[in-house]
């Protein structure tokens, strides 16, 4: 680029300089003075010619007088003589004098001529007495001199013209050459400019190409090539300005079911391969429907489809059903055939004003669909919004509730179902909200986990539980739930150590419960933390056992103190003999692992009897006791000898 510029400058400079030279030369070579010199040259020749004529007129006048001897002829002679003398004056001054000065030979001839002419004066006075022959001889001499000067003047003029013509031709050649040079330079300049233009154009094209590429990358997902959130927003903004009255916008939010498990089992390459293949299928599906449609990937395994179609002929339910059908056949991926399910939430905007919230609505519907279980498709309905607002309110007021101890533990007793003796209790968080009444932990725990408030909630629950159990007999142990977020974000070991020290509770009276999903998230970290807690003397219990993957690896790697059979088995065992067999297997597994087995969710005497018969020793549930506040707990009989009484009382309480 710099080199081209230099050339450009050099040629431009050359062009200007040559131009300057040309015009300077042009003006100098055609100066007015030179013009005048030539004019004077003409005049010199003219003057010489006229002088010659004047001499011959004078000469013939003299001859005529010599013949006639007439007075009037003498007058004419004198007049012609006078005119001739005047001519001599002209020759001895001005431009003619300059001519003579430049030709020394002619100059001396002129001096003799002047002398001869002035010598004629006395002879003319004496004519005709003096005799014509003397005058005539003299005139012949004078004639030669006049001829010489006139001839010389003419010749020198011709020579001068010839020289001038040569000069003129040279000048013309020079001018031609300069003009040629100018033309060549101008051509070069033009070529350089054109080349530079071409380079600029190339650069522009490249920049434009890069910009297009960048623009594409900015608006598309790098992995799948689908649109990203930015393009979705752009599309929506455009739609909010251009959606026609007979058009409709359908927004569909998808979240793959179990994508995390696929990633875990097949690795990220496998997950990516699945996403790429699925994206292509979704894109093809979207393209197959008439309208200005868009398929976007808006999260790891989240997709968003926008259908901008005519109202007529658009069947939302059919579209969604066919969309869900896309997930029924396996995807051909680079690592083989894969099948994946999805949850779907969708919302419809029929007016421009509705477009702003259509994505949010579809997301809400998706959230609810996921709660209903894998493979669900839900259309947005206004109550979802109400539930969202409730969720937002809970989220907003949660920190305040924690700070002011509005969230407190309730305790559900755990029993030896063979002897009926209470052996411990599980702390469960309860929130009695001033405005909206009791809030279920099922509702606020996930919110607290999402907002991070779960850490503070976990601390609060642990401290309260440790404090409250102190008032109970020594054999009573308390169970507290540990969430995944707590394990990842809080120093749980320090928390447990400090809490035990502060409350003075014996470590063997504390039991911490974790779910399978917590272990699954980061097996190594969680197991190492739990082992250290176990070393303090605290028991570790596996909650909701049998609902997740129940992978043998973490069952065998970690020494569990207790397994808690999930309530779903209790219900299943009422109707399914197979479930009973599974419980049998779990029972023997627990025995082999030297872990206690506790059954959750026992609600009837029959259920309690069933599990007792299966050899299970411990249980909890509404049949025995519903969760109660700490104040009621103190009134509760805790001794073995009161077993029968207790069971009776509890049974009665459960049926309230």
């Amino acid at each position: 680029m710099t080199r081209v510029n230099l050339w450009h400058m050099a040629i431009l400079g050359g062009f200007l300089i040559t131009h300057f030279v040309f015009w300077t030369y042009f003006y100098v070579s055609y100066s007015i003075e030179q013009e005048q010199v030539r004019s004077l040259d003409y005049d010199t020749v003219w003057s010489a010619t006229n002088g010659r004529n004047e001499f011959y007129r004078f000469s013939s006048s003299v001859n005529r007088y010599l013949n006639t001897n007439d007075q009037s002829d003498l007058d004419d002679v004198l007049l012609k003589y006078e005119i001739l003398l005047a001519r001599m004056d002209t020759w001895s001054s001005g431009s003619f004098k300059n001519f003579l000065n430049n030709s020394p030979e002619e100059n001396s001839v002129f001096e003799q001529l002047s002398y001869d002419l002035s010598g004629l004066s006395p002879m003319l006075q004496n004519l005709p007495n003096e005799g014509g022959s003397t005058v005539q001889t003299s005139l012949q001499e004078i004639a030669k001199k006049v001829e010489k000067i006139a001839g010389r003047s003419y010749q020198s003029s011709i020579e001068r013209f010839a020289a001038e013509r040569r000069d003129f031709q040279d000048r013309l050649m020079t001018e031609k050459r300069i003009v040629m040079g100018l033309l060549v330079l101008a051509t070069c300049l033009l070529a350089v400019v054109m080349r530079q233009n071409w380079i600029l154009k190339q650069a522009n094209a490249q920049i434009a190409g890069d910009t297009n590429q960048l623009s594409f990358m900015a608006k598309h997902d790098a992995l799948t090539g689908l649109a990203n959130r930015t393009l979705v927003d752009e599309h929506l903004r455009y739609a909010s300005e251009h959606l026609a009255a007979d058009e409709v916008l359908l927004a569909v939010a998808l979240d793959l079911d179990g994508f995390k498990a696929i990633n875990d089992t097949l690795g990220h390459a496998g997950g990516d391969a699945l996403l790429v293949a699925l994206s292509k299928r979704l894109n093809d599906y979207v393209d197959g429907i008439p309208g200005k449609n868009l398929a976007a990937r808006v999260g790891g395994d989240e997709f968003l489809l926008l259908f901008w179609c005519r109202k007529r002929g658009m069947e939302f339910e059919t579209t969604i059903r066919f969309l869900a059908g896309q997930f029924n056949s396996p995807l051909d991926t680079t690592i083989g055939s894969l099948l994946v399910g999805t949850s779907i939430g969708y919302a419809v905007a029929t007016e421009r004003e509705e477009i702003e919230s259509v994505i949010l609505n579809a997301d809400l519907a998706l959230t609810e669909a996921k709660l209903e279980g894998p493979g669900t498709a839900l259309r947005f309905a206004t109550p979802m919004r109400t539930r969202l607002e409730r969720r937002l309110q809970i989220e907003r007021e949660l920190p305040n509730a924690l700070q002011n101890s509005l969230i407190k533990p309730h305790y559900q007793l755990q029993f030896n179902i063979v002897t009926g003796e209470p052996i411990g209790l599980e702390a469960l968080a309860r929130w009695n909200h001033g405005d909206i009444g009791p809030v279920s932990p099922m509702e606020f725990i996930p919110i607290a986990e999402a907002s991070g408030d779960i850490v503070e909630l976990g601390r609060l629950m642990l401290r309260a539980a440790c404090r409250d159990v102190l008032f109970l007999p020594d054999h009573m142990r308390v169970s507290v739930n540990l969430s995944m977020i707590q394990l990842l974000n809080d120093d749980v070991i320090a928390l447990v150590t400090d809490t035990l020290r502060e409350t003075g509770l014996s470590p063997n009276r504390l039991k911490l419960e974790v779910t399978e999903s917590v272990i699954m998230h980061n097996v190594d970290l969680v197991e190492s933390v739990l082992s250290k807690i176990q070393e303090l003397g605290v028991s570790i219990s596996l909650d909701d056992f049998g609902t997740g993957y129940s992978a043998l690896s973490y069952l065998s790697n970690f020494k569990w103190d207790e397994l808690k059979i999930d309530r779903s088995f209790v219900i299943a065992c009422e109707t399914s003999p197979k479930a009973l067999n599974i419980v049998n297997v779990i029972k023997s597994l627990a025995d082999k692992m030297n872990a206690d087995l506790l059954v959750e969710g026992l609600e009837t005497r029959e259920q309690a009897d069933t599990f007792r018969k299966l050899g299970c020793r411990y249980g909890q549930g509404y049949y025995f006791s519903k969760p109660i506040p700490v104040e009621q707990l103190r009134e509760f009989p805790m001794n073995v000898d009161q077993e029968e009484k207790t069971l009776t009382k509890l049974g009665a309480a459960a049926h309230n």
């Binding site: 007015i32 003409y42 007049l79 006078e82 002209t90 003619f96």
Partner: protein
């Protein structure tokens, strides 16, 4: 015509300067397209009675600058009621030159009768001499205007 010639010789003699009587002799005859008579004879005195103009200029025929005094040809033309597009000037040496009348207005040539404050003899290229203002208008310094600068004028004919 002979009378004029004789007068001229008497007036100018052999190189002598003009005298008081000489300026009443006829020196110029104007003919052709003029009002009234066929031709008009004019003496130096008559010419000097027309408005005088003087030019100081260099010429190709003199050394240095020379001061001329006379009457503008345009003024003279008006004086004799001349019309026509060209004026033919005839000199004592039979020299003839045609001046376009448009020159009179455009370049204001002078019909000079005095050089450096003196009437001109034939020897001085007198008695009448057409002078263009060469120094004031350098573009006049060309062979065209040099050839129109007639001296020793005897007559003018308007055509």
């Amino acid at each position: 015509m002979l009378r004029i010639l004789a007068g001229l010789i008497l007036v100018l003699g052999l190189g002598s300067a003009a005298t008081a009587e000489d300026i009443d002799k006829t020196v110029l005859t104007i003919s052709g397209k003029i009002s009234g008579e066929e031709s008009v004879d004019l003496s130096i005195r008559q010419l000097t009675q027309l408005s005088r103009v003087s030019y100081t200029t260099s010429t190709p025929w003199h050394d240095g600058k020379v001061s001329f005094e006379g009457v503008l040809l345009g003024t003279l033309m008006k004086h004799v009621g001349a019309t026509g597009e060209n004026a033919e000037f005839i000199a004592l040496n039979e020299y003839r030159s045609t001046l376009p009348v448009s020159d009179f207005k455009e370049h204001s040539p002078l019909l000079a009768y005095m050089k450096d404050g003196k009437y001109m003899t034939i020897r001085d290229k007198g008695p009448l001499f057409v002078i263009y203002p060469f120094d004031d208008k350098p573009e006049l310094k060309t062979e065209v205007f040099f050839s129109r600068s007639v001296w020793q004028i005897r007559s003018i004919e308007f055509r």
